[in-house]
């Protein structure tokens, strides 16, 4: 039998490109869920919101989605800090975060979806940029720019986040804040301020992921739901709160999904990914790089 070597390599490469994008989608959750213990199931809503704003400026003013979202990310940061403040005062401070906090973020997801639905309707929306059609060919390997550009953007974003977490005082405090808040206060650090900043960063990252999303695929208001399960799976698989772990898990999942889709059909991809998640957790409960 002739082994479809070229097909396999192409599937792996496509998976890596997709995986890097998954990493950007998960990065925000890795911060809020992995480091702050905030189960923000509303995170995909902010990604979609980013996509739609990028869409709006693209069709009306022909601005590149990545440029729009770069300019947008400080606004998303402040939106995130405001949302955390509401969450803190209404739930966390009273120790009611587990169930009511979850309901709160579900509400955020739902309301955002409905608003986008009212504003833009149910149709799929997409952007027009010079890099959406063409591909680069390296030998027999096909690199569509539509995937390559978000991949490179995601990796840069990810590298920046990792530097922030591991090399700044604020970043290290973000790693510590869920472990012992009083101990952090004894280091002259206000834990609530740290959580507010970190949550703001997670939402700013969502704006960037939104730009990448609408470059990769057309978007409709509820498309974020497709990502909720996958994103939490990557976060857990990588090891809670580990950025390098998240990146490895995202690439792994991208490659697995791509190979499965190529050889067995796309409908098998989610089943295989979650199978890998369950197997990994059976042998390594703390995830790939969990501490």
């Amino acid at each position: 039998m002739d082994f479809p070597f070229e097909l396999l390599i192409n599937a792996v490469v496509a998976g890596l490109l997709l995986g890097a994008f998954y990493a950007a989608v998960t990065a925000g959750i890795s911060i809020s869920f992995g480091m702050l213990d905030i189960v923000n199931i509303g995170h995909p809503a902010f990604i979609i919101l980013g996509s739609y704003i990028a869409y709006y400026f693209n069709i009306n003013y022909h601005i590149d989605p990545i440029v729009t979202c770069l300019i947008l990310s400080p606004i998303f940061y402040f939106l995130g800090t405001a949302i955390y403040q509401v969450y803190y005062l209404s739930f966390e401070k009273r120790g009611q975060q587990s169930l009511r906090g979850l309901a709160f973020f579900f509400g955020v997801l739902f309301v955002t979806e409905v608003l986008l639905l009212l504003a833009f309707g149910v149709d799929y929306r997409y952007v027009a940029t010079s890099y959406i059609g063409p591909s680069i060919h390296v030998g027999f390997v096909d690199l569509p720019l539509r995937m390559l550009v978000p991949c490179i953007g995601s990796l840069i974003l990810f590298g920046g986040l990792q530097l922030f977490i591991s090399h700044t005082f604020t970043g290290r405090a973000v790693l510590a804040v869920s472990q012992d808040q009083l101990a952090l206060q004894l280091m002259a650090v206000d834990p609530i301020r740290i959580k507010r900043i970190a949550f703001g960063v997670s939402i700013a990252v969502a704006a960037m992921a939104g730009a990448f999303l609408i470059i990769i695929q057309p978007v409709e208001p509820s498309v974020g739901r497709e990502y909720i399960g996958r994103v939490f799976a990557i976060c857990v698989l990588g090891g809670m709160g580990s950025m390098p772990g998240t990146l490895i898990a995202a690439l792994l999942l991208g490659v697995i999904e791509s190979i499965t889709a190529t050889f067995y059909g796309p409908s098998w991809a989610p089943a295989v990914s979650f199978g890998v998640l369950l197997l990994t957790l059976a042998f390594r409960p703390s995830g790939i790089l969990g501490r």
Binding site: R172, L175, L184
Partner: protein
């Protein structure tokens, strides 16, 4: 420059349970003061009052830092630490899933400490060579003695003027207890700290204390102006020395 703590007529309670009654304690600049008391007598509560973790019902707590006086009651814990007062808390409260080095760097978050990170870190690694060997190990996987060393070192990374230590000897083998007490003395001398130390281990605490207080049921039962006085007190003999 002078660094001292004055605690005047402090009363504290958890809800309706009164824990401290009319506590008055002075820690003069450059002194090591021992706060002696058996379980549940209010040592930790007093430490928490100083650090703004528990708010006294009444009374004053004033810290003098580099000659400048600050009223501590009503300030947040972060503000008090930022003034230059560090606490090594009961139970050490390290960040178990961070490495030794990350724990130490968090100690240097205070703005005034950032300039001295390297000098402080070198000193800590010099004083506690174990920490240097294990700088990349997770704090939670270290032995009790190593964790106590790390807790002390992390507090020093703050470049404090005043150091509060809550029961450093808890859970340590006798040899480690005396080493830990020696380490506190060494750190104090090197950084010219003012130290308030809560302890149950009377003999070890008195070894390095300039003077001390015995706290019983939330009240100061005895003040010893010197180690000598503490050693010869009847109450102390009864409570700690089994005589």
């Amino acid at each position: 420059m002078a660094n001292s703590i004055t605690i005047e007529n402090v009363h504290a309670a958890y809800g309706s349970v009164r824990v401290l009654e009319d506590v008055t304690i002075t820690v003069n600049s450059g002194e090591t003061v021992a706060l002696l008391g058996t379980n549940g007598n209010g040592k930790s509560t007093l430490m928490k009052c100083v650090m703004g973790i528990v708010r006294p019902v009444s009374g004053r707590i004033v810290a003098e830092i580099d000659g400048e006086k600050h009223d501590l009651v009503g300030r947040t814990t972060e503000q008090i630490v930022d003034l230059g007062i560090a606490l090594v808390p009961e139970g050490r409260r390290l960040f178990p899933k961070l490495t030794v080095e990350e724990n130490l760097l968090l100690g240097a978050s205070r703005r005034k400490a950032r300039a001295q990170i390297k000098a402080n870190m070198d000193f800590c690694f010099d004083a506690f060579s174990r920490l240097a060997e294990r700088r990349n190990q997770l704090a939670g996987s270290m032995s009790g003695g190593e964790q106590q060393m790390l807790a002390l070192a992390r507090a020093l990374m703050l470049s404090p003027r005043i150091l509060l230590v809550d029961e450093p000897s808890v859970g340590l083998a006798p040899l480690l207890v005396s080493r830990t007490i020696d380490a506190i003395k060494q750190l104090k001398d090197h950084y010219q700290l003012t130290v308030l130390m809560a302890e149950q281990n009377f003999k070890q605490a008195v070894r390095i204390a300039d003077h001390g207080y015995v706290i019983v049921h939330g009240k100061i039962a005895f003040e010893g102006r010197s180690a000598e006085e503490l050693n010869n007190n009847d109450l102390v003999r009864k409570l700690y020395l089994g005589m």
